[in-house]
Subunit: 216 residues, 2 copies
Amino acid sequence: MGRHYDQYCPIAQALSVVGERWSLLVVRELQHGPLRYSDLLERIPGCSTNMLATRLRDLEVAEVLERETLPPPAPATVYALTDAGLALGPVLRELAWWGARRMGPPPPGMTFGNGELARALRVAVPPDAVAETIEVRVDDDVARLEGGIVLDGAAEDPDAVLTMELADFYRLLVERDDAGVAVEGDPGALATFLAALPPAHGRIGPAPTAPTAPRA
Amino acid sequence: MGRHYDQYCPIAQALSVVGERWSLLVVRELQHGPLRYSDLLERIPGCSTNMLATRLRDLEVAEVLERETLPPPAPATVYALTDAGLALGPVLRELAWWGARRMGPPPPGMTFGNGELARALRVAVPPDAVAETIEVRVDDDVARLEGGIVLDGAAEDPDAVLTMELADFYRLLVERDDAGVAVEGDPGALATFLAALPPAHGRIGPAPTAPTAPRA
DNA sequence: CCGCATCCCCAAAGATACTG
DNA sequence: CAGTATCTTTGGGGATGCGG
């Protein structure tokens, strides 16, 4: 199990469970659905096999996640979040928000693709914050807010479609600057989207040393 | 500086700054105002002197906090959060909330005192969530919500006074169970208070091994 | 005393190889 | 594929020292 802090404090309690290196990155990945061991390994670069195995065991004991063995046809074991693990969503959201405000804009060549947009949106906008159906397009990636949640892929009959490039996406989220965002359909959708985001915004901390881009 | 994760991800970015052991506990303590080195040491039990010095240096480089030297009369150096450090408030709030939902009720003998109630309320209820003036009394500790923020001590002319014991305080926050809470003044104040808390509640995770109580 | 710096030890982290 | 075993390296933790 994780290191303990000798304090009767909920923050110390939380950190003793998910405060160790790699733990929250594992939870981050599983936030979008169950994954296998090898999937996790390749989605968490720099994490060694024994570290992942250790963290998975600790998090399972803490009932943050659970192992599931898929039925006989393809007998694979996957890791899925429990209710306690899913409840870390708001923590990841605030942490991502704070980190994003310290990061500079994405490096010039970088683009979204392969569901990265959906994963980014899922940690950026809280569940049930947007009632309308809004399709978002960044580079070649498409996602949608529908029924209060974020889904990968295009919408059937969206109320609005927001189209932008990755750099515009960053400025929209961090700086609340909607220049560069093209809106089709309901003109109020952009305001609705912005209202769903946390109120605090703008850069904080030192000027970025290595520019990075929003993800997962 | 903190360990790095080789990822262009805001969560990884945040964790590389405040993800190491003790870091967030230092930020937690400074949330309530500047403190000296020795004050921090005694408020963070288990943290060794060199660890605290190292973390303070790292967090200063990261511009999460800054050293301030008080004027000549009493030339002491204190540590204060920067804007970036204060922006960690929501992170601490969600983390505390998640930890509190995993903790059992406070052990029988435990009581609040010496401003612990104010510190607990400050991380429990977001700023500007309550417009009224509500005085809260737990055991012998008194705090108040006034002008949207939490202050230590009794209120001048409160709209309502909520009185309870520590165990009731825990059940009110975590279980949303207002039994045991005495309300004087505006009867709607309790509902106002509850509405200011995050929506998610109820226990998560394994049954508590060592019961703990909310703090700071 | 306050605010660290230094030294040493050990437990975790990290890299790699290997196995059911 | 899903880990375990083994080895090396690094950082956390305790004790102590030392200047202001």
